[in-house]
């Protein structure tokens, strides 16, 4: 092989490898970006479903608990009035057999609120994490080179006005939990 031919052959080899590598990496990066984009869109929809579940479960459990409280009140007040109206001879016996309100419904409601809130927080973190992955993909080299035409995705995170105000001002003033 003479030198001139060898140089041409070398250049051809380098070009083939570089063009082939570029082509394969372009496809790979594009597919990864599209998969992430679709995953983010799906997670955004899933978050709405989870949020809907959070409120429906909490609201309905609260309704059941309220109804149980009212039912107990309806049963308890006349019962006590009736017993006390009879006089004091059965007082000791009545005291020992007073019906007790079952607070487990309130405890269950409280636990459900915390659990569902945690579940919703998890899916929101996952959504933000997917966005982080997408931002890294299109923003860091060599992804930024292959995906220069792709834009960051906007995601909708649900927080409260209180949280937004706190983060805007950088001050957390309302710390009284019973206010």
């Amino acid at each position: 092989m003479d030198r001139k031919k060898a140089i041409y052959a070398g250049l051809a080899l380098v070009l083939v490898v570089l063009i082939g590598g570029y082509f394969i990496m372009s496809i790979s990066y594009s597919n990864t970006e599209i998969r992430l984009r679709n995953q983010i869109a799906a997670q955004q929809d899933a978050n709405a479903v989870v949020y809907d579940k959070v409120w429906k479960v909490i609201a309905q459990k609260a309704q059941v608990t309220e109804k149980a409280k009212d039912s107990f009140k309806e049963m308890y007040v006349p019962l006590m009035e009736g017993r006390y109206a009879r006089g004091g001879s059965f007082m000791k016996w009545i005291k020992e057999h007073n019906p007790q309100f079952d607070f487990s419904l309130f405890k269950d409601l409280m636990n459900s609120i915390e659990a569902l809130r945690a579940e919703f927080a998890n899916v929101q973190i996952r959504l933000r994490d997917l966005k982080r992955e997408h931002d890294n993909l299109i923003g860091t080299f060599p992804g930024s080179w292959f995906l220069s035409d792709r834009k960051p995705i906007k995601v909708q995170l649900v927080t409260s006005g209180q949280t937004q105000k706190t983060f805007e001002t950088g001050e957390e003033n309302e710390i009284n939990v019973f206010k």
Binding site: D2, R3, G10, L13, N111, E114, E119
Partner: protein, 375 residues
Amino acid sequence: MTIWFSLLIPLIIVFGLLYFFPRRIVWWELGIPLAASLVIISVCKYGTEAVQTRDTEYWGGWLTHTEYYEAWDEKVSCRRPVYRTDSKGNSVFEGYQHFYDVDYHSHYWLASDSNGISKNISREHFERLAVKFNSRVFVDLHRSYHSIDGDKYVARWNGQEETFTPFASTHTYENRVQASSSLFNFPNVDSKEYGLFEYPEILGAYTCAHILGQGGPTLAAAERKLSVLNARVAASRQGWVWILVFNNKPFQAGIAQQNYWKSGNKNELVINIGVDSQFNVQWCHVFSWTDVEKLKIDTRSQVIEQQGKPLDLVKIVDWLGPEIKKSWARKQFADFSYPTVEPPGWMVALTYFLTLIVSLGTSAWVIYNDFSPEN
């Protein structure tokens, strides 16, 4: 991804080969530095990623049977080349002479669990289990032996509750979160700060502690109950429960433990309980990857009911059994297949260095071997 750019090294070297040594190389030799570099880069990239994402979880099960395989031997065919020396003193191959060898297989003892996992145990261990199960059945293996006929003895669990033997084993799985910059990852913490717990070792082939720390008077009974729970209920629902008892440690110890264990393995529910020196419950922190948040909250509520009272671990484990059976579902780590895992900087540098060495080495071979356009 930057690791793949090290492929430019062999490309430059190949170009140099063509420029400086065009008469010493043939076309197919150009692929050798490229292929060798590709192998090195792939091994470094995927090998590192496998190590970074590898994690170990515990599986529960119960000992179903134990076996004693007797020693035995067998004939295995073999052939040896035969040579003769000719008149000039050269060695000439004549053919093969057929013989047989005797392979000796040593005796061994195995313990097997309900998941089909077997582990080697000692002879004494086998004997203890055979007595415990009150079982020892001879099984003729009908081996084609040479002079020692080895068969086996099997001792099966007799199904009685008092001889039920939990069997713990460890398995590896891919955990990309721990090696990524995902928001779900946890910060590294110093285990000494709060005297945090390490995962316990499996002793005697299949035994491990399920309650870590000093749990007070109910510890022994609860340990047995929790090991049975992990073997039966948790195993059937792909779960595992740890109870960690922190003596005279603040609530932050529970949070630090979660960071230290990176929220545990994918199948774990970890209950952290803080007690004072009289084993009175002070705090509780429950963590797990499970999406069933209510189980974690309910578990914490159950423990907190004992706040200020002596820790009753048996009561907690008794409550856990039906709850785990009813609502436990482990996290599917396929949900975390998206985080990118990058090799550490030193590994990238090492890959570039190894690629350079391999490219130069193979290029030297290409230059100095006997293949050339003229030959």
